[in-house]
């Protein structure tokens, strides 16, 4: 489970459409560092 936590990180992602901006929670593989 620890490995999985390190591998996939939850992150807030900003989305911009023609109607406006909002954010969603997505998963990204943990290679950001």
């Amino acid at each position: 489970a620890e490995t999985k936590t390190r591998k996939w990180e939850q992150k807030q992602v900003q989305i911009k459409t023609l109607e406006g901006e909002f954010s969603v929670t997505m998963w990204a593989s943990g290679t950001d560092d």
């Binding site: 992602v13 900003q14 989305i15 911009k16 459409t17 109607e19 593989s29 290679t31």
Partner: protein, 449 residues
């Protein structure tokens, strides 16, 4: 990767084959030397990306380029089949793209650049406000890491650079190495030019992890013959290296021997080996000389007589390309017998008894079989090692433990190559496109002519 257009003229694109029924590409993670191989398992079907929206009106001044979210439907090597979000089961606008190209981004990339996502024309009237739909589709889904493109760029960087000197198997005399200089690097494949080469000599190509290249001073250290200028040999003796000399740290060190003390390859021992001059053949061979650091000189017994020793070839004892006597028989692989013997009639036991010969003991060979993941029918890109500047489309046609038979599409079986599953001369589908190397397509009737 920006490359000269003329170099990439007529490069083959997999496009038309990718959607064929039964097409299966070897996964990127099978190629440990390939860019992003270590993190490719995190690239999965169902992942969302932001990608150029080509289903739109001509570019407007306010939005010169248009992006939308897409889902990864299939992955073949570095290529992915994408479907724009909102298309449901409609596959009319599905498209293949290289996941590493600069037109594919993690979700969120557009917002950081102030670009609004613009829905494709086909579905633009489906919703008045796309927010609710996108929140539903994107929440909890996976996307690429925000630094994915940097990862791609980093993974393409070679540890070598142009101008470095190294020792390379002499393509004109395979029993020796020759000093050479790196002239060009494409996708970690090195184009080297030999010292003292003829003006029309086009040098040699190999991957930076190839066992055919060695650090400066290697030949004199292990006892291999080298062709080099006097000044270089002098430096080898003194151990004085310059900034343009590729020293040990640039190279992979072969596995040390795990044999019990006293057991080692000896001159005269018989074995089976991939013919370095015809990679479709595994042949009866002889250990001609034992060098230092577990290197051995091997001669293929089916070659014509040549007392000069120019046809010997250097293999490391841990090489996966040499096998114990009987390997081919056990695995139903045709074995090329020694010169003067008929392939159908050759039998190891009779041969050894008649000539009072011994075979190299089983324990000396690398018998480790990694969980490589290759299966018959998988498609890939592979260097033609008889002309290694060419990278061609190929198919895994046999798997024998860690040994793979690579068939070059459209060519006769005699052009097949036996390669180890960890060979750095094989690449995932889309590798050439990613690194800017020309890809040779399958042979067609016109190319045959």
């Amino acid at each position: 990767v920006k490359r000269n257009r003329s170099e990439l003229a007529n490069t083959y694109e997999w496009k038309c084959q990718l959607s064929e029924p039964g097409f299966i590409a070897a996964p990127v993670s099978c190629f440990s030397h390939a860019p992003l191989a270590d993190c490719w398992e995190n690239i999965t079907v169902g992942m969302k990306v932001e990608v150029e929206n080509t289903d739109c009106d001509d570019f407007t001044e306010s939005f010169p380029d248009s992006f939308w979210v897409a889902t990864v439907l299939r992955i073949s090597g570095y290529k992915a089949l994408l479907r724009y979000e909102g298309f449901g089961q409609n596959c009319s606008k599905d498209f293949w793209v290289s996941l590493c190209s600069n037109s594919v981004h993690p979700v969120g990339w557009c917002a950081t650049r102030g670009k609004p996502l613009i829905p494709p024309k086909t579905i633009e009237d489906k919703y008045k406000d796309w927010k609710e739909f996108l929140v539903k589709r994107l929440t909890g889904a996976r996307t690429l890491p925000s630094n994915f493109y940097n990862k791609v760029t980093d993974s393409l960087v070679s540890r070598f650079r142009c101008g470095l000197n190294l020792e390379v198997v002499d393509k004109n005399r395979i029993s020796q190495v020759k000093v050479a200089t790196v002239r060009k690097i494409v996708g970690k494949r090195l184009h080297v030019c030999y010292y003292n080469a003829e003006p029309d000599d086009n040098g040699f190509w190999c991957h930076e992890d190839s066992p055919l290249i060695h650090p400066v001073g290697w030949a004199s250290r292990v006892g291999q013959t080298i062709d080099a200028p006097e000044e270089y040999l002098q430096r080898c003796e003194e151990g004085t290296w310059g900034e343009n000399d590729a020293t040990d740290e640039y190279f992979h060190v072969p596995q040390p021997s795990s044999c019990p003390l006293g057991v080692s390859f000896q001159e005269g021992m018989k074995l089976e080996a991939i013919d370095p001059l015809n990679l479709s053949a595994i042949c009866v061979a002889t250990v001609m000389k034992v060098l230092r650091e577990n290197y051995v000189m091997i001669r293929i017994d089916s070659y014509d007589e040549d007392a000069s020793g120019s046809d010997w070839f250097c293999y490391h004892a841990s090489s996966p390309c040499i096998f114990p006597a009987g390997f081919c028989d056990v695995n139903s692989i045709p074995l090329t017998p020694p010169k003067g013997h008929e392939p159908r009639e050759f039998d190891w036991t009779t041969y050894l008894e008649k000539s009072n010969l011994t075979t190299a003991p089983l324990i000396l060979f690398n018998r480790e079989i990694p969980a490589h993941g290759f299966v018959v029918g998988m498609r890939l890109e592979a260097a033609d090692l008889m002309d290694p500047r060419l990278v061609c489309v190929g198919t895994v046609s046999r798997v024998v433990g860690r040994l793979l038979k690579i068939h070059f599409d459209g060519w006769e079986e005699e052009y097949d190559q036996w390669l180890d599953c960890e060979s750095p001369d094989m690449y995932p589908v889309g590798w050439c496109d990613l690194v800017g190397h020309k890809l040779e397509g399958p042979r067609t009737p016109s190319t045959k002519a």
